[in-house]
Each structure stands twice: as C-alpha cells, then as structure tokens.
C-alpha cells in the first residue's frame, strides 16, 4: 500500500491496453537482492556466525565419511606427504645438507605450508563448490569462504599436534620451551592470511572456473619458493633474491614456527611484522573485493 491516496482513474474498458502506475513506498517495501552497504554487510555476516560455525563443524566431521579410515586421514595425509618429500629431497637429492635436524625442518615446512595450501584452495573454491547452497538460501555469501577457512583451521589442529609429536620423536631431541606457544598466534595470523587471499580469489574463480585448475600449480610453485625442503642459505650470493624470498608471507610463517619449535630462538620481529602486514592487508582487500561482487553470485550467465 504504499501510503499514497492516489487512486487510479475509474476502470476503463479493459480490452484497450493502458498504463497503470503503482506507487511503491520504500518505507514498506525494499529492493530484493540488492547489495547492502559495507558495514551492513559485516553486521549481516556477524548475524550468521552460528551458521558459519555449524557449516564448518558439520563438514569437518563428514569430510572423510566415504573413506574406510575416516577422520584419520586428517593426520595421514600430511604424514605421507612428509614421507614422500623426505624420501625425495632428504635421501635422494640431499637438499638438506647443512641443515640442523632436517627431519624436523622438513616436517614443519610441509605441515605448515599444507595448512595454507588446502585452506586457500578450499576457500577460493567455496563459491563454486557451494552453488547449490547459493541457489537455495539468501545470506551474505562471504559466509562461504569464511566457513571453508574455519573448517581448514579446525582440521589443522590434529595435524599440528602430529607435527609437534614428530618433531619430538625425530632425533635429535628438542627441548620444549615457552616459545612453542607462539604457534598459536602465528597460526591465527596465517589463518587470516588464507582467508584474505581466498576471498580475493573466490569471485574470480566463480566467474572463470579455469582459474581453479591453475591455482594448484601456482600453489605448488609457491611451495618451492618457501624453503620447505631446502634453506635460503644456498642463495646467499644473491642478497636481493633472498630479500624477495623473505618477504613471502608463508615463508615468514614457516620461519617463525621453525625458530620457536626447532631452534628455541625467539623469532625476529621483522618476520612478525611482514606476516601481520600481509595478513591484515589481504584480509581488508579480500573483504572489499568480495563484497563488491556480492550481487553477481548466483546470476545466470
């Protein structure tokens, strides 16, 4: 109703097409499907926090339902990954020469990188993978990459524990210091970094599915550039290269974890600063880009 008192002219013979003007009061009716303002969007997202939490949790439980070993794969996958790389790079190629406790070094590199790789992949694919949910329910779509990242964060907990056990078991024996607790803040920063990057990528991947196929190659290249199974010391003759490699946020994460767990050294503040700038910067950029594209998710094209 549309508050107005305007009445149409008395009914004309309906056989002749005419034009009827319907008043629409925006006080009572609002546009459907329109993108809310940025702050409204964040508020709506906050209102769906229970949905995000439930989605993440329910899917962690059922992710490996079809496998005979079930959730054990959360631990077995990184473990076998580690064995493969140890066999190739540690024993066959010997890239670990001159690195103290290479097994620990390698294990930390692989487990830590794997967390980011699977989270970025899952987050970037979350719109494509959840098309049925997008077509069924109206909610701020940012909930999907957030839930995917939360799911990866949850499933990284058991694998991190395995990682620490492996470091303890692998000789030489490491002493456990308070610095082991630094894993928690560094993983949270890493989580924010993953989230920001996947929110940045998800809209593009939704438009051009092909990017998803490229992404796994890019991630592999990135892993080779993050000193997972060798040390940057081999590039010491080229200081600019080392500088570039050290700006790599995932290398920062790996470096911080290695320093605190393996070498009982307090990580340099520069690593923390680089990582924090990357994480918060990408998170802001990711949220903004994702929100800008909000109306395009679920459009037929």
């Amino acid at each position: 109703m549309t508050v107005t008192e305007t009445r149409p002219p008395a009914a004309e013979p309906a056989s002749a097409p005419e034009t009827i003007t319907v008043p629409v009061s925006l006080k009572k009716l609002r546009r459907i499907g329109a993108r809310p303002g940025f702050t409204d969007y964040l508020v709506q997202l906050w209102d769906r926090r229970q949905f995000i939490a439930f989605d993440a949790q329910a899917r962690v439980q059922t992710a490996n339902d079809k496998d005979k070993l079930g959730s054990l794969w959360l631990i077995l996958t990184p473990l076998f990954n580690g064995l493969t790389y140890y066999f190739i790079f540690g024993m066959l190629l010997g890239t670990g020469r001159g690195i103290d406790n290479f097994v620990g070094y390698l294990v930390i590199g692989i487990f830590t990188f794997q967390f980011s790789a699977s989270a970025i992949l899952a987050g970037a694919r979350s719109l494509v993978a959840n098309e049925s949910v997008i077509k069924a329910f109206t909610f701020p779509r940012a909930a999907l990459p957030i839930a995917a990242n939360l799911r990866e964060l949850l499933s990284s907990v058991p694998s991190t524990i395995v990682m620490l056990l492996l470091v303890i078991v692998a000789a030489p024996v490491e002493e456990i210091t308070w610095r082991w607790l630094l894993i928690i803040p560094v993983m949270l920063l890493q989580h924010l970094f993953n989230l920001g990057l996947s929110m940045l990528l998800a809209p593009f991947l939704y438009k051009v599915h092909d990017i998803g196929n490229l992404l796994s190659f890019v991630l592999r290249l990135w892993m080779y550039g993050s000193a997972v199974f060798y040390s940057f010391d081999r590039f010491n003759e080229y200081p600019p290269l080392v500088k570039i490699l050290e700006a790599n946020p995932l290398f920062c994460v790996i470096d911080i974890v290695r320093d605190s767990v393996l070498y009982a050294a307090t990580p340099a503040w520069q690593s923390w600063a680089t990582l924090a700038v990357w994480s918060l910067g990408l998170l802001a950029a990711g949220f903004f880009v994702f929100w800008r594209q909000e109306e395009s998710y679920g459009r037929v094209s």
Binding site: T4, P13, E18, T19, K27, G33, T62, T138, G298
Partner: protein
Amino acid sequence: MAGSAKFALSESGVRWDAEPSIVVDNVDVHYRTQHHGDVGDGTGGILAAARRRFGGSSSTVKHALHQISFVGYKGDSIGIVGRNGSGKSTLMRVLAGLTLPTGGSIYAQSEPVLLGVNAALIPSLSGAQNIRLGCLAMGMSEDEVESKYDSVVEMSGLEDEINHPMKTYSAGMGARLRFAIACAVDPEILLVDEALNTGDAQFKQRSKQRMDFIREQAGTVFIVSHSLGTIKENCNRCIWLDKGDFIMDGDPEVVTKEYHNFVWRMTQGNKDYGMQIRNEIMASRPQIRTDLLESGWRSAKAARKRAAGKP
C-alpha cells in the same frame, strides 16, 4: 472458440483495496548460451574446439524472462502455470533474490523464502543437520532452531529417517524436507516450486494447512505447479507465463482454462491459432509502471503534493 469477451478477464491484477507485499517492476532475465551443435564433426580437433569456445558467433542471448511486471498482495495465493521452459522457476529464483535480474527490480516487504526442487541441500549431511544448516542460513539463531526443530521434523513427516544422510532420501522425501525448512522461518512471502506434487496425501494436507496459515497472517504464497488441480485448489489468483512472457493474470478458473485450451491447441497441431490467441491475450493486458516513493519527509511531502494536485 475463445471470443474477445474472454480477453477482458486478463486484467492488470492491480488492486487498490489491498496492501501490496511484492512489486515486480519490468524484470528481464537474459543469459548467454553456447551452442555445442558441432558434436558430430570430429575432424576439427582441439583447435576447432578452441575456436568454437572463443568464437563469438556461437553464443546467443536467451530471454528467460521478458518485461515481467505484476503486484502481489497480502493474503494472495498466486499460482503460476506455463509450459516447460516458460521461466516459472527463474521467476521464483528472481523473486527470492537468488538470481539478480538483468534489468528491472523487485520490491518486497520482507525476504521471500524459496526452497525449490532443485535446491540441493547438502547430500552427505543427515536430514537433521540439513534442517539446522538451512535454518541457520536463513538467519535463525541456535535457540530458535532448537525450539522449531521438532515442528520442522513433524511437518516433513520424516521422523524415522531424519538421522540418515540426505542422499538416501527419495525425491518426495527431499521435497518434503525442503518445504518444511522453508516454512520454519514463518516467511511472510513463501515461494513453493513444485514441492507439492511429490508429496503423499498426508503431506498435501499439512502443506495446505501451512499455506492457509501464512495467508491468514497476511502473507503471500506463490505456487508453481503443472497440476492445474493443485492451483485451483490452493490459489485465489493465477499467472500464466510462456517463453518468458507474461501472458495472463486473473482468476485461477479462467486462467487455467485459457492455458489448458492453449496447450490443447498447440498439441493438436493448431499452433498458429494457439500463438495468435496467446499474443492477443498478452497484448490486452495493461502496462504496469511503478512510482517510487522514497522514505523520508521530503518524499512524503512530495507525495501529498502529488495527491493534492490530482482532482
């Protein structure tokens, strides 16, 4: 057979004695499709396939909906009929805000809720988990879900299977679960896409009660169905879409009869005559335009002025 007197019945559907709950203003939905017509041509190989993919000539624009305008009122129960591919489901998705129209806009008093046949919930999760997930996705809180949960299960009639994964459900069971979830939020505007056809007698009874309840609460219900009986039984108004065009809007008895005649002519080979009647009905419908009144005192004043200016 259909004389011109009948065309007088396809009116605009605009009423002045009821409060609108949803206004659809000149909505267009276009999309591009790619032809994959050259399947039989195996000589081209990869390069030809790439050319086909990137060649602009192979894609055409399809009109899923073309200049759709109508007004839905509180207490209305609107049936939507049309042949396959007429744009019924697209219209439902656009009304629900799940698909953004290429042109035009939709205004509604509150978020319409749709759970159609194609709304795949998550197959690996159990029915119970899907209920929680769906309710939370629609913006309910954990506590609300907790208090509604039993009534949703009862509505769906799936007490025995609720803890089984959804992929083990039959089509009818899935449709019942979707309908029950859609009703859980007490929507003011409920969109029902084919869900009623698959249910058994008991479910039909429950869903009819539910829709009557929504209408009594001054809500609006849209029902897409190929069963004209379902439409006549549940609706006080009926819309006929054909190939994305809005053909007719009016009393269900009249519209379904006109639609039935049209389909009969088309299948009996009298296509030209059928299309001619269809186009005449469509052309006799008045145009609907909308006049946006901004909220705020300035526009209220303007509206008063406008009203006063008219005799």
